[in-house]
Point group: C4
Chain length 206, copies 4
């Protein structure tokens, strides 16, 4: 009933948006124009640099996982395309929220900026999961011989990102610095080799 | 008489410009530097964020349709290239007009900024149609076995975009907020699976 | 004696830099923050918009010709790579010189800004020619069956760009507005189907 | 035990980030808004333009070498991916450190800005070497028939970059202008055809 296209151009466009969004982050870093004590000024603004590193790493994690996701997706339809585009919209918002957080750290409105930062990440990871959920619910979009067990374990892994970002959002209501903890857990989780990928390995030993 | 080239490098360049233009939009978003009431400040500037979302979605719609268009175009010539480049020029202007609109919303010059915003979209969609019209008028540029009926129905679909943006431009002379209505119609139209694409499906059932 | 690589990754990198440089131009456009008379303000700054359009079109012309050039180049070596990288460096400077010109138009330092603008284009087109000259002088870099006549006619065509930009630079010393004339000639020249491309057509009629 | 992927998408993403980072540099160049003496103002800021050229050339050198490196790498695993992503993070920081240095040249905090500039390059080249070291230590990541001698000579070549940047960092503690000397050595070294590449030539004479 709907139109289907091969996924390569969608992957290409997503890759380009993710690469540009990751690279643009550095342009939002505050460049102190102070006449003396430049290093102290930069050290004082460490949360801006931490937010940059966190956003950069997170966009790269999104890129790696987006690629893994499309290994199992054979073709796209109108709705998958729309979900993926909305996901990318929140990816591009990262440079805005990172810049906003960088500017307000240590100032009265720090919490609001941190809530917007975490909220955008919740939306981005939720839309990522929606894209995957929609693809797994629509048989004709998946690769024909995709391992159902593997797909279920990927679904479980992907859901961890919005849950931990939501946790960060809630912790942020009490304490901004502690809201970093679930984000660190997320990095450690994605840095370690994972169950589902071992399975991919066993299936495609090339 | 003219030189012809395969279309892949043109598609690649267009994809890159569209991806970059979409990602740059977020850098034009106003980052309020207020000491108190950050959330209220951001809520007050909602039209800037709406203009960002509208421009992002519209560039993505342009990307999807640009791709569909080049399924039927076998090769390019000098004039098709020029029309496509002029189309891309107005695509890159989106970040400028979105930033201009974002800045002037709620201020005395709101209408002028909105007229420039809609006017750029009229030009961009008109040039998109010119590219398509030129390709369909020049037999050697089209795929040999392209379905004439399908091409006519695509021509009709594509013309809807400049017509609705022109309507938005005219409505804007009376009321800026109401000028959003034809744009919303356009989104709904392009979000729904369309007649011409069902036909593509029936022809290429893969 | 030197190392040779296939040209595809160099073409890819050049394409990406050209696409990004073209898209970034629009972010340098002045966005008047005036409370009244926005349209008049924008009309008054027309040379900034003209400089944007000129730079955008010129980067696109460079892209089209760069692609044509690499049809005849089979492989690269260290020196071709360096010449091409220097060419790209002056391409990325376009956004800087366009922004500088846009800012100084109608102000006392207009001429200096225009001289820098034209000077960068002279350097960029000269380096483009150097890349081509070096490739044509080094037999192992060219496609084996490249038509020598065609290559000579391309060499003649390419040399027109730095000559006309140098003319613009010299005219600029007397009159800034008249310096646009050689640039317009260049556009008309590159917009018209050219002799060398007709020959390509006859050779590769696909 | 770990998951392996073909390297093409990683190369594509790295290429895109390197191309964008190189092109963004020009947007950090100071555009003097002076009413008189524009040329003098620009000449006075020459170190900003020198820093731009140095960063642009260095990102291009990194791109050329990154490509050469991946000729010998057959597949990636989780850790290679992480090292490569960290390398790219420091690549994107170039626009920040170049802008910072450009702003502080000739001002009291010049040395601090230069130290940050050189320090980022030390980190970037160190992470480049780590990526290569990790790949050469892990047999299953390398091309099967990779020449061990060639790999050792590449390892020696790559280590020159962090060593010379560290030298620049140390010289910078005494004199900022002299810290340019090891960087110039690096350029000359990478501009000249190198031993390891002659060997590649002999092996792949195509």
């Amino acid at each position: 009933m709907y139109n289907h296209r091969p996924t390569d151009r969608l992957e290409y466009f997503s890759d380009a948006v993710l690469a540009i969004a990751a690279t643009l982050l550095a342009t939002e870093l505050p460049k102190p124009e102070t006449e003396t004590g430049l290093l102290q000024e930069i050290v004082k603004q460490w949360p801006a640099y931490a937010a940059f590193a966190a956003s950069f790493l997170f966009i790269c994690i999104a890129w790696v996982n987006h690629h893994n996701m499309f290994i199992y997706i054979r073709q796209t339809d109108q709705y998958l395309l729309i979900l993926n585009i909305l996901f990318l919209m929140f990816v591009t918002l990262q440079s805005f929220t990172t810049g906003l957080l960088a500017h307000h750290v240590g100032k009265p409105e720090e919490r609001t900026a941190a809530l917007i930062y975490h909220g955008t990440l919740v939306m981005m990871t939720l839309l990522y999961n929606c894209t995957w959920w929609y693809a797994t619910r629509t048989d004709e979009l998946l690769e024909e011989h995709a391992d159902r067990k593997l797909i279920r374990s990927l679904s479980k892994e992907y859901v961890i990102a919005p849950v931990l970002h939501l946790a960060a959002l809630i912790i942020c209501l009490w304490s901004v610095p502690f809201s970093i903890i679930p984000v660190l857990f997320l990095y450690i989780y994605f840095a370690l080799p994972r169950l589902s990928e071992k399975r991919v390995k066993q299936k495609n030993p090339t």
